[in-house]
Amino acid sequence: MPAHETFYEVMRQHGITRRSFVKFCSLTAAGLGLGPGYASKIAHALETKPRTPVIWLHGLECTCCTESFIRSGNPLAGDVILSMISLDYDDTIMAAAGHQAEEILEQTVEKYDGQYILACEGNPPLKDDGVYCLQAGKPYVEKLRYMADHCAAIIAWGSCASWGCVQAARPNPTQATPIHKVILDKPIVKVPGCPPIAEVMTGVITYYATFGQLPPLDRQGRPKMFYGQRLHDKCYRRPHFDAGQFVEKFDDEGARKGYCLYKVGCKGPTTYNACSTIEWNGGLSWPVKSGHGCLGCAEDNFWDKGSFYSPVTNLGVTGNVEHTANTVGGVLAGAAAIGVAAHAVGSVISRATGKKPQKSEEVSNG
C-alpha cells in the first residue's frame, strides 16, 4: 500500500460513498459533543491527514468489544471505522492468519514506528510469566509490551483492558492486569464498558485522527465527552427516582409503569458511561430502557461489587463471604447496644457490691 494514504482514500476503496462519509463526519462531530462546524473539520482531517494505522490486540477477553464494534447499529459508522482499523491487524476479523498475520505487526512497527494507535481489547495475565494467554507461542504480555514500545498511544478497549473485568475478579487466578498497570510510559485512553458502546469507540478513534491527539480525559483516564456524567444524570427514569417511585420487584406495578430501578440494584447512580444518551444498537435501547437495572459494567471491579440486584452492595473485605455495609453496621450497632447494656448491668453490680464510696475514703486519706 502507498506510504501515506488518507482515511478517506481507504474508505473510498472500501466502497463508501462521499455522501456516507460526510454523514459519518456529522454524526461523529455530534457524538463528540462538538459544534456543527466541526463536521467539516473532521472531514478535512480524514481527507488530508495520513491514515493512522490501528493495531487491535486481543488479550484475555471475550471479544464482546469487537462484537459490539462490528454490530454497530449505525452501519454507516460501523463500516467506515471498520475500514479504518481492520486493514492492519485485528485477529478476529482480519483475513491474514498465522505467520502472515504476525508479520503485519513487524511491518507496522518498521513503517509506522511511534505513529500507530495500539487498541487493546482484553488484558494480559501476569502470573507464571504470562503463560495463561499465549499467542504465536509467546505470552501475550510480551507482545503487548513490544507493540506498546513503538506505538503513539494506547486505547484500552472495554472493562478488561481498563479495569480488569471478570478475569480479574476475585480471586483473579491468572493475575489478569489492566493495561495501565502494565504499560506505564504511554498515554492511555480507557474506554470501559462490557462492551463499550460502538459509537463511543468510533468517536475516540476519529477524535485522534482529526485532532492528532487524544481526547480530553477525566481523572480516571476516560474521554470526558462520553464518561463525564453518570447514567443516572441523563436517565429518562430520573424523575421517578427524585419522586421516590421505585420498582420494588421486577413484576410489580412500578415495573410496568417504568419506575426507577434503583431499589432493584440499578448502578446508574455510580456508573459513568454514555448509555443513557447514545444508547445501544443505534439508539434502539439500553438496559434501563429494557426494564433492567444497570450492572455498572463500565466501573472498576464491578464483578466484585455484588449484588447486581441491591443498591447496598458487598464491601469486599471478607473474602468470599458476602457482607454489605448494612449487615456489618447493623451487627456492630447491635453489638454496641448489647455491650452497653451488659456494661450497665456490670456497673450496677460493681456499685452494689463495692466498698464505701470513694469520696469518704479520700477525705480520710487526706
Binding site: 479495569w163 477525566d218 481523572r219 480516571q220 456524567q229 453518570r230 444524570d233 421517578h240 427524585d242 419522586a243 421516590g244 417511585q245 421505585f246 420498582v247 420494588e248 412500578g254 419506575y259 434503583y262 431499589k263 448502578k267 447512580p269 455510580t270 456508573t271 455498572g296 466501573e299 472498576d300 471491579n301 464491578f302 461489587k305 443498591p311 447496598v312 452492595t313 458487598n314 464491601l315 469486599g316 454489605t324 455495609a325 448494612n326 456489618v328 453496621g329 447493623g330 456492630l332 450497632a333 454496641a336 447496644a337 455491650g339 452497653v340 456494661h343 450497665a344 456490670g346 456497673s347 460493681s350 456499685r351 463495692g354 470513694q358 469520696k359 475514703e361 479520700e362 477525705v363 486519706n365
Partner: protein
C-alpha cells in the same frame, strides 16, 4: 449558689465547679449531634429508600427532598467541623483536647490504661478529670476528627458526582476517586462510616449518663452550661 471557677491550664485544682467547655464548643456539640442524626437517617434512606410513592412523578419529590436534607445537614456538619477546628486554635485548653490528644505525654498513656482498668471493673480507684479522660479523648479524636473527615471527604466526593466535573466539590474532593475509582465502593464505605457513627452515639450516650452515676464528676450537664462539677474534694488520683 456555688462559685464557678475558670479552668486554667496545668491547674492542679480538681475541686468545686470549673468552667471548662466554652460557648462555641457547646453550640458545636449540639449542632454536630443534630447534623449526625439527620445525616444518619437520611443517609440510610438514600441507601435503602422508603416504599415506592404512587401517582404522577411530578406530584412528589420525596427522594429529592431526602437527598436535599442530607446535603444541607452535610454542609452544616462540614462547616461546623471547620468552626470547631478554628476554636481549637483560639479556644481554651479543653477545646484543644478533641483535636490534639496529648499523646506525647507519658501520663496520657498511663491514665488511659487506668481508665481501661476502670471500665473493665478491674479497679475501683476512680480518677477525676476536668475535660475528657484519655480513653474518651482518643475515641473522640478517632470519631469526631478522623471518621468525621473521612465522611466529609467521601461525602463531598459523592456529592461531586452530581455537581459534575470542574465543580468545587470535584476540584476539592475528586481525589477520593483516584484512591478508589469505583464510586459504588466509596458509597458503601461512606455508609459503613455512618454505622460507625451510630455505634459511637450508642456508646457515647451510655458513657455520659454512666458518668453522672459512676464517676467523680458530672456527665451530661457539662455540655449544657460548660461547668465541670466535682462531686468530692478528694485528691485527683485515689491512693
Amino acid at each position: 449558689m456555688a462559685t464557678i471557677k475558670v479552668a486554667t491550664p496545668q491547674s492542679e485544682d480538681f475541686t468545686g465547679n470549673l468552667y471548662v467547655f466554652e460557648v462555641p464548643v457547646r453550640i458545636w456539640h449540639w449542632v454536630h449531634a443534630l447534623a449526625i442524626t439527620v445525616l444518619a437517617v437520611t443517609g440510610y434512606l438514600i441507601a435503602s429508600p422508603l416504599p415506592s410513592m404512587s401517582g404522577e412523578a411530578s406530584d412528589s419529590f420525596l427522594m429529592g427532598n431526602i437527598r436535599l436534607v442530607h446535603f444541607i445537614a452535610a454542609m452544616v456538619f462540614a462547616v461546623g467541623l471547620l468552626v470547631r477546628f478554628y476554636w481549637a486554635i483560639v479556644g481554651n485548653e479543653y477545646s484543644r483536647g478533641l483535636l490534639i490528644p496529648p499523646v506525647w505525654r507519658g501520663q496520657f498513656w498511663s491514665r488511659m490504661w487506668h481508665e481501661v482498668l476502670v471500665y473493665s471493673f478491674l479497679t475501683r480507684k476512680i480518677a477525676k478529670y476536668r475535660g475528657h479522660n484519655p480513653l474518651a479523648q482518643i475515641f473522640m479524636w478517632l470519631i469526631n476528627v478522623v471518621l468525621a473527615l473521612f465522611m466529609v471527604c467521601t461525602g463531598f466526593a459523592l456529592y461531586s458526582q452530581g455537581t459534575g466535573a470542574g465543580s468545587w466539590a470535584d476540584v476539592l474532593f475528586g481525589w477520593v476517586f483516584v484512591i478508589e475509582p469505583s464510586s459504588q465502593a466509596v458509597r458503601m464505605w461512606h455508609l459503613t462510616g455512618m454505622w460507625l457513627m451510630v455505634v459511637f452515639i450508642i456508646v457515647h450516650l451510655y458513657m455520659v449518663i454512666r458518668a453522672d452515676f459512676m464517676s467523680r464528676q458530672n456527665g451530661i450537664s457539662v455540655m449544657i452550661d460548660g461547668v465541670r462539677r466535682f462531686k468530692d474534694d478528694g485528691p485527683r488520683d485515689p491512693q
